[in-house]
């Protein structure tokens, strides 16, 4: 089951176009779109009233709904989340291959746009891990502005803090650190370090979520895409072990820097 989210800041508006059909054309005939947000440590679930047509639910983000999550379900299924106060697996409608995705588009006030097909699968909700991402893949020192969204969704309605580290391999030094929250769309402005990002990486401790990089160029053009998780680059029975070693090695660089501070 897949959930969907926004990537909104005061500089980037966010539009979600969630299809009412699977990629095999089957339609969500008895289900509708719901949103969920955390209110006083409880999941508040509502049927989403939004724009759209026969094929799409279209939801624009604002300051009020920017951390909401969206899912397709029946009313009876959606109520279970409220009753149990935890995000649970509700139905298999969005279980498809290729994956069921919504179009997540960011825009600037100059009319520039960039999008990717986004989803947040339920299987990630209760996993504990860390995020490693090579900044050089999707950033550009020639851009005017560079930033990174990190979205997390966890089953329980808790907003807990986790550290986001930016480390330069070239300088062998920690460039900066930030606080991220679970169950939120976090945005880190990386512009001050844009010329260093080619040989840098980010690391988030104890929280999962795919980093999505945005580059904004002087002529207004945008680039917006997420990096692959490390396990997507290799296969084999020792894949987990190799990924763990990779993450441990990079975290050791951060830890050494922190001790030196």
């Amino acid at each position: 089951m897949n959930f969907f989210f926004h990537t909104y800041t005061k500089n980037y508006s966010s539009r979600l176009a969630i299809p009412k059909f699977r990629n095999d054309s089957r339609k969500a005939t008895s289900m509708t779109l719901f949103s969920a947000r955390i209110v006083k440590e409880r999941w508040a679930v509502e049927e989403e009233v939004c724009e759209g047509n026969d094929n799409w639910w279209i939801v624009d983000a604002n300051e009020n709904n920017k951390d909401d999550i969206y899912f397709i379900a029946t009313l009876a299924q959606a109520r279970l989340i409220k009753e149990k106060n935890t995000l649970i697996y509700l139905n298999s409608f969005t279980n498809t291959s290729p994956s069921f995705r919504a179009n997540l588009q960011i825009r600037t006030c100059s009319g520039a746009f960039s999008s990717y097909q986004a989803e947040y699968p339920f299987r990630m909700f209760n996993k504990i891990g860390s995020v490693y991402s090579d900044c050089g893949m999707l950033t550009d020192g020639n851009a005017e502005k560079v930033g990174c969204f990190v979205r997390n969704i966890s089953s329980n309605p808790i907003l807990s803090d986790h550290k986001f580290y930016l480390y330069s391999n070239a300088h062998r030094a920690l460039l900066s650190s930030f606080e991220l929250k679970t169950n939120s769309t976090n945005f880190i402005d990386l512009t001050p370090w844009k010329s260093e990002l080619k040989s840098s990486f980010i690391f988030v401790e104890g929280m999962l979520g795919g980093p999505m990089y945005v580059c904004e160029y002087a002529d207004g053009n945008l680039s917006f895409e997420h990096t692959h998780p490390p396990q997507d680059c290799i296969r084999g029975s020792n894949r987990k072990e190799l990924v763990k070693k990779l993450k441990d090695r990079f975290y050791e660089k951060i830890r050494t820097s922190l001790v030196g501070i």
Binding site: D24, N55, M137, Y217, E225
Partner: protein, 259 residues
């Protein structure tokens, strides 16, 4: 249980039996290989003022501590070989800008990228390069990640013989696959769907009722026709994974993503 069964699964005799039994809906050949460097079949564009950039991390070094370089093989839109290039990693990043001067044409085609070991490789590896490609005009490039495990080569093949040893990572069996793109196509923009064919045979894709043939290792760019705003695109193909790239643009901005 899995940790006891998995070694048996990898025995040579088991592998041979597995290769003989092709399950009806299994089109993926690469999981049956013991040792491979795999790549997506990316699309390059130098037509219409566009450039293409490709970026990769040093996968072999990051995971296996083996120095490597990138071997990039270019094909034209009909799947014919154009040229190959070797690209070194600089501070862990391998990057190439693909423009009309590099390939000698304003056109489009495909390319694949392999993380080649610089020295002797003493262990089995299973590498998938689905790294990052971007399209745009000037220096402003909209990036996206790779899509499919499309082609592969044995890591023991020396660099100069890679081209002759590239094989499809998917079985070349025809099927009937329907795929509805889950992205609205807003009016007022130019939308292009880019299909590539990694299989060993030509494939057909039908986009909103119009059919196109794509040669082996080739590609095609389709401009779909639809009515109204938030148009829908439906694809029918004899290839199991007809999921195109989408480039959406207007007179000022370019966006790309996977459909």
């Amino acid at each position: 249980m899995k940790k006891y069964v998995r070694p048996l699964w990898e025995f040579k005799i088991t592998r041979k039996i597995r290769n003989l039994i092709v399950f009806k809906d299994n089109f993926r050949r690469w999981p049956l290989e013991r040792n491979y460097l795999a790549s997506d079949l990316f699309i390059w564009r130098t037509d219409n003022g566009l450039s293409t950039v490709f970026k990769s991390n040093n996968i072999l070094f990051d995971y296996y501590s083996v120095d490597s370089y990138l071997k990039i093989v270019f094909y034209n839109k009909n799947g014919k070989y154009i040229r190959e290039l070797d690209v070194d990693f600089v501070e862990g990043l391998g990057e190439i800008l693909i423009h009309k001067e590099l390939l000698g044409c304003e056109d489009y085609g495909t390319f694949c990228v392999f993380n080649m070991p610089s020295g002797e490789l003493k262990q089995e590896v299973k590498i998938i390069n689905r790294c990052y490609v971007g399209y745009g005009r000037g220096k402003c490039l909209s990036m996206m990640h790779g899509n499919l495990v499309a082609v592969m080569v044995n890591p023991k093949v020396p660099g100069e013989r890679v081209v002759k040893n590239i094989k499809s990572a998917v079985f070349s069996r025809k099927t009937e696959k329907k795929y509805s793109i889950q992205s609205p196509f807003y009016s007022g923009f130019t939308h292009s769907l880019l299909f590539s064919n990694p299989s060993d045979i030509a494939i057909l894709v039908n986009v909103n009722g119009i059919s196109y043939q794509i040669e082996s290792r080739g590609c095609n760019i389709v401009t779909p026709k639809f009515e109204g705003d938030c148009g829908k695109v439906e694809i029918v193909s004899d290839f199991f994974y007809p999921r195109p790239l989408v480039i959406t643009e207007n007179e000022k901005f370019v966006d790309c993503y996977h459909a």
